[in-house]
């Protein structure tokens, strides 16, 4: 066991010698014996003692009680008084310096030993407690979450200043009850938040709710609150302990993803309508041509006096033209927008698609890893179409892998059809370690309207359109898959 170091402050040198001798006999190390409070304060940093034995009456300006007070403020070293004065006044003064013991002279070695041991133990416990408190304080400070303690009337206490960064309001605005938490929640979100709270109160008293707050600068911030309601034995709410997390970025990403998906579903639907309507148009416009020709033929055959029959011809003709208008409208409505070829940075577009899906992937614990060729890739293409194609491939990969899955996206340059003399292509490969595609499905996967994701609102057009886009750019799309192992989709686009 390590010897405890003790500093003795005693102005009677004989007494000091006696104490030193006794302490050493008890197994302690005496750092020094000093005769004044001033010298004790000066020497403590040098000796770094575990404990100070302090006489009350000392030489010099400062008495022992004053010295102990200073030591407590400056060094956090436990002090035990060792004195012949046991009167109430001295005791009262000594008490407020929170000493670890008070030994009256004359004393027994045994008494000295127990008091020192108790003091050392108590001091260690307090230091541990302080360290532990410090550890948790630091933890709370490093967490992105803002810990709070709330009450049934929406008043709330914060423990650090992080709330100011998010809300613009200082900790004290809430802790002093100037503001209640409900004051800054966006009005529309308050009722749903209350409902979640009420529901949780009936069940396990744990809840997670998301809502918007309005900051001091009138900015809208999304928060996620995870809390626990603590009730007393009568079932009344005592307090709520929980944490806020700023999820604005996540919400924005979710919105962007939703929007992108809707745009793509819309353009997929439009492409489907386009395919369908140009097919219908051809089949309908031909017979319309015949009917119109027939009407004009019959009109020429009819005598001018047969007004009823001529008026019937007019009506048929009008109906033919009306049907034609409908089809023209359908064609105009569904015609794909013009292809716009421009120089694109394919890696940037891949990163954009990845960032759109980042939060969704994180939520499902899916890792997306990209590794691009270092060689220059100069591609000219329709940016929107390529974006749509990349997004489709990534969404498919995300939907194919389960939690913990990995999606690898790589790019490399290669020549086709001959690896030496062929044309240069950039091949983008999206590889997942998901469920894979059965052989039967693999043969149908590029067909329009083929989907295994009807329940997830799949249109069955994502890959079909991706293939069309790749075709439009004179590239090719290759899919390899093994059930249970994963799928690899490779898109090769010709360089300029």
């Amino acid at each position: 066991m390590v010897k405890a170091h003790i500093l003795v402050v005693e102005d009677e040198s004989v007494v000091a010698m006696d104490i030193k001798y006794r302490l050493e006999n008890l197994g302690y190390d005496v750092s020094a014996t000093l005769s004044s409070g001033e010298s004790a304060i000066e020497k403590i940093p040098e000796f770094n003692p575990d404990l100070v034995l302090m006489d009350v009456v000392l030489k010099g300006q400062m008495d022992g009680i004053e010295a102990a007070e200073r030591i407590k403020q400056l060094f956090d070293v436990p002090v035990i008084y060792l004195t012949a004065y046991g009167d109430d006044k001295t005791l009262e003064r000594a008490k407020i310096t929170e000493p670890y013991g008070y030994i009256l002279k004359p004393f027994e070695s045994r008494e000295l030993y127990t008091t020192i041991e108790m003091a050392l133990y108590k001091s260690k416990m307090q230091k541990d407690l302080k360290a532990s408190e410090e550890k948790y304080r630091r933890l709370i400070n490093t967490l992105p979450n803002i810990v709070f303690k709330g009450y049934a009337d929406w008043s709330v206490d914060f423990f650090d200043d992080k709330i100011e960064k998010i809300s613009g309001y200082a900790k004290d605005d809430f802790n002093s009850r100037r503001l209640k938490w409900s004051d800054i929640i966006v009005t529309d979100d308050l009722e749903p938040a209350k409902e979640i709270f009420a529901e949780s109160l009936k069940t396990n008293k744990l809840y997670i709710r998301e809502y918007r707050i309005k900051t001091k600068d009138a900015v809208i911030v999304w928060l996620q609150e995870s809390s626990q309601i603590v009730c007393n034995k009568h079932g009344e709410i005592e307090f709520i302990i929980g944490a806020f997390l700023n999820i604005t970025e996540r919400k924005k990403a979710e919105e962007a993803l939703k929007e992108a998906q809707q745009t793509i579903i819309y353009s997929e639907k439009m492409a489907a309508v386009g395919r369908l309507s140009s097919g219908i148009a051809h089949e309908v416009k031909n017979p319309l041509g015949i009917i119109l020709g027939g009407v004009e033929f019959l009109r020429n055959k009819l005598p001018a006096s047969d007004e009823d029959a001529l008026s019937a011809m007019d009506k048929i003709e009008k109906s033919v033209m009306r049907a034609d208008d409908v089809i023209q409208g359908l064609l105009k409505f569904s015609r794909p927008s013009e292809v716009r070829i421009e120089a694109i940075n394919i890696h940037e577009l891949i990163n954009d698609a990845v960032s759109l899906l980042k939060y969704k992937a994180q939520l499902n614990n899916i890792k997306i890893v990209t590794s691009f060729t270092q060689e220059p890739v100069s591609l000219e293409a329709d940016k929107m179409q390529i974006e749509q194609m990349l997004f489709n491939l990534l969404v498919n990969a995300c939907e194919a892998v389960s939690a913990g899955g990995v999606i690898n996206i790589t790019s490399h340059l290669q020549r086709f059809p001959d690896p030496v003399t062929g044309d240069l292509f950039c091949t983008i490969t999206v590889m997942d370690n998901g469920e894979g595609i059965s052989k039967e499905n693999l043969s149908k996967i590029l067909e329009p309207f083929f989907t295994t994701k009807r329940d997830k609102k799949g249109t069955g057009l994502g890959l079909y359109i991706s293939k069309m886009i790749v075709d439009n750019h004179k590239g090719f799309l290759d899919i390899k898959s093994e059930q249970g192992k994963g799928t690899e989709v490779a898109v090769s686009l010709p360089l300029n």
Binding site: S278, A281, H282, V284, K285, N286, L288, G289, I290, I291, L292, G293, G294, E296, F297, N300, E317, V320, M321, D324, L331, R335
Partner: protein, 122 residues
């Protein structure tokens, strides 16, 4: 009297087209429902104008048009496509394709057709 050759496999359409054009008294119409035979007729009849369907079994209207343009005897004969879907040709102009070909979409009124024929035959 203008002589018009119609090459279209839609026989009923051709029948009415012939009847309606001829009833005006200004046109003589020959009809052919097969592309290959159609081109032979172009060379034989040397009509004032040829009306071509785009989609036909075997050779299409586009092929006949190319043949007409490339043949010394026929290269000056004006022709027009008469089709249900001009979209197949990515048209910008209502009637003219990018390369200047004339397009007429079905259904077409006889008056409109006559106007177009008159414009392109002198």
């Amino acid at each position: 009297m203008k002589r018009i050759l119609v090459i279209d496999d839609e026989k009923d359409f051709c029948f009415f087209l012939k009847q309606n054009l001829e009833s005006s008294g200004d046109f003589a119409v020959e009809v052919c429902s097969n592309a290959l035979e159609g081109f032979t007729q172009v060379r034989k009849l040397h009509p004032d104008m040829v009306l071509l369907d785009v989609r036909m079994p075997g050779m299409g209207g586009g092929d006949i048009a190319t043949a007409i343009k490339e043949n010394q005897e026929t290269k000056d004969i004006p022709f027009a496509f008469i089709t249900a879907l001009k979209e197949q040709f990515n048209l910008k102009n209502k009637e003219l394709s990018v390369s200047g070909e004339l397009f007429i979409t079905k259904p077409v009124k006889i008056k409109e057709l006559v106007r177009i024929i008159d414009t392109y035959t002198t």
